[in-house]
């Protein structure tokens, strides 16, 4: 059974109007259980749109999407996935543990079960002593770890992440990547991860999906052959650089398309 199945999905904004944008055209993608897949590409390639289609936050204009062999709308109703964004998006008026409890509240869990799970999640992200603090008392990296704890609180089989480490500094970012791999390994969670960073995509992923804009589409899928166990040594390994080069070359293709498209239209938008 595949965790995510995208079959011929399209998303057109402002269809039929002058500002029509073909955000995604005929996208096919299958993500297996326990797999870590990154979506990478220049701005406007539709990677965030694809993530939102999988999350059922947007309706596709064509094609179909399945999560755990259910329609995406059913998967959303069942809270089959957790989500994390570039901004941690914690609620300032809730303590750290109350933030983690939010999805459980909406599922109708009782209070004891909720706080037990929140404590368990805080152990998982190694921040148990911060339960009763408010989010603004935490650093950006800690806030993002709480956001991950919240996304995984209901133990969903799938985690959808939209540039979650984009606002963090390089050192915190690398630490968070290691932590994410550890957490997802311990919980056997499938991840679809949107990023701008090539090393980040290579370090984290089993497969890197390269996308290109106008119209948004998948141009290539690169298998990352770094094995299952990754650690800080991975970042210095030959295979790491070889994979980075492979992704970079795939991306360069999309940039060339981008440049020629501009040349044809006589535009310079960047």
């Amino acid at each position: 059974m595949s965790a995510v199945e995208v079959i011929g999905a399209s998303k057109i904004f402002n269809q039929g109007k002058t500002q029509q944008v073909d955000a995604l055209v005929d996208v096919n993608l299958t993500v297996d259980q326990g797999e870590f897949v990154s979506l990478i590409g220049p701005s406007g390639c539709g990677k965030s749109t694809l993530l939102r289609l999988i999350a059922n936050l947007l309706e596709p204009t064509g094609g179909s999407l399945m999560v755990n062999n259910k329609t995406v709308s059913q998967a959303r109703l069942d809270q089959d996935y957790g989500m994390a964004f570039q901004q941690a998006g914690l609620f300032d008026w809730r303590t750290v543990s109350k933030n983690i409890e939010l999805p459980l509240e909406l599922k109708g869990w009782d209070k004891e079960k909720r706080s037990a799970r929140a404590a368990e999640m805080l152990e998982l992200v190694k921040l148990p002593e911060f339960a009763d603090l408010y989010p603004w008392q935490l650093s950006g990296g800690m806030q993002q770890r709480i956001a991950i704890a919240r996304a995984l609180a209901a133990h969903p089989p799938l985690l959808l992440m939209d540039e979650p480490f984009g606002a963090l500094d390089e050192m915190t970012r690398e630490y968070m990547q290691g932590e994410l791999l550890r957490i997802c390994g311990e919980t056997a969670t499938t991840v679809v991860f949107v990023t701008h960073s090539i090393p980040e995509a290579v370090y984290l992923s089993n497969r890197v999906v390269v996308m290109s804009p106008r119209p948004g589409r998948i141009t290539s899928v690169i298998d990352v052959d770094l094995g299952a166990k990754r650690n800080e040594d991975t970042r210095a390994a030959d295979g790491f650089f070889r994979n980075i080069t492979a992704v970079r070359e795939a991306l360069r293709g999309t940039q060339a398309d981008h440049a020629s498209a501009n040349a044809i239209r006589g535009l310079e938008d960047r």
Partner: protein, 254 residues
């Protein structure tokens, strides 16, 4: 250290006030200013202590008008902001009306309202306060209910939360600080409105009317004593609004 800065925070403004009053008193004595020009603080204080019960009566009349208007205006403002945030098309209908109503000078409305109700009625004044408070609360709370972070709304949608749940768990908590910002402005404004409304006829029992009648009788020091009462009333309203804010806020100061 903390206690020291706290003492400093109280002592500096306090000593400034004392110095200001001494300069005032000194100026009146040295330049021999006549009481009809400027009353000395000592005379004002004398009048204040002599007329305490009368000033208290006038203060409670104006204070009650302000409080009634403040409470009704706040309740109506909150209720309307919920309606506005639910039906955004109403915003375009209500906003121009609110702006044009706010642009009318208060006294015009009070004069009209005084004609509508009997001359012994407090309703026109309370209605005026209600109106002023209503718009302050409405504008702020509506902003708090609608200007929520898009990440929060997307997150709630990803949990398949209903509109009611989003209202309860995101919009309302987000609007609470906006409500207290509104109250901090509305509380002193309600006192000023209650006070100014008394200048346009009706019962002669509040602070505003007492000040005009004392000035008309050349009792300047007594008029100033009523001004002092008005000052204390405004301060009391402001202080209460700040205390309410502190209680509800649970340490989320940035």
């Amino acid at each position: 250290m903390k206690i020291l800065t706290r003492i400093k925070n109280i002592l500096v403004p306090l000593s400034f006030g004392v110095v200001f009053l001494l300069l005032w008193e000194g100026a009146v004595r040295v330049f021999d200013l006549k009481p009809y020009f400027l009353a000395a603080p000592s005379k004002i204080f004398e009048q204040f202590t002599k007329n305490t019960s009368r000033i208290w009566d006038a203060t409670s009349v104006s204070g009650t008008n302000a409080l009634v208007g403040l409470i009704i205006g706040t309740i109506l403002g909150i209720a309307m902001s919920f309606v506005l945030s639910r039906f955004s098309f109403l915003n375009q209908l209500i906003t121009p009306l609110a702006i044009s109503l706010n642009a009318i000078p208060i006294f015009v409305l009070v004069a009209v309202l005084n004609n509508m109700y009997s001359i012994t009625s407090e309703i026109p004044r309370r209605f005026m306060v209600t109106l002023v408070v209503y718009f302050i609360v409405l504008v702020n709370v509506a902003k708090g209910l609608t200007q929520v972070r898009s990440t929060h709304v997307e997150l709630m949608h990803s949990y398949a939360a209903s509109d009611i749940e989003i209202l309860r768990k995101v919009r309302v908590p987000n609007a609470v600080p906006y409500l207290f910002t509104a109250l901090k402005v509305a509380a002193p404004a309600s006192v000023i409105t209650a006070f100014v409304s008394e200048y346009f006829g009706g019962l002669q029992n509040g602070l505003g009317s007492r000040i005009t009648s004392n000035i008309a009788n050349s009792k300047n020091a007594a008029a100033w004593a009523y001004v002092l009462g008005a000052c204390l009333l405004g301060l009391a309203f402001y202080t209460v609004s700040i205390i309410l804010e502190k209680i509800t806020r649970k340490g989320e100061t940035k």
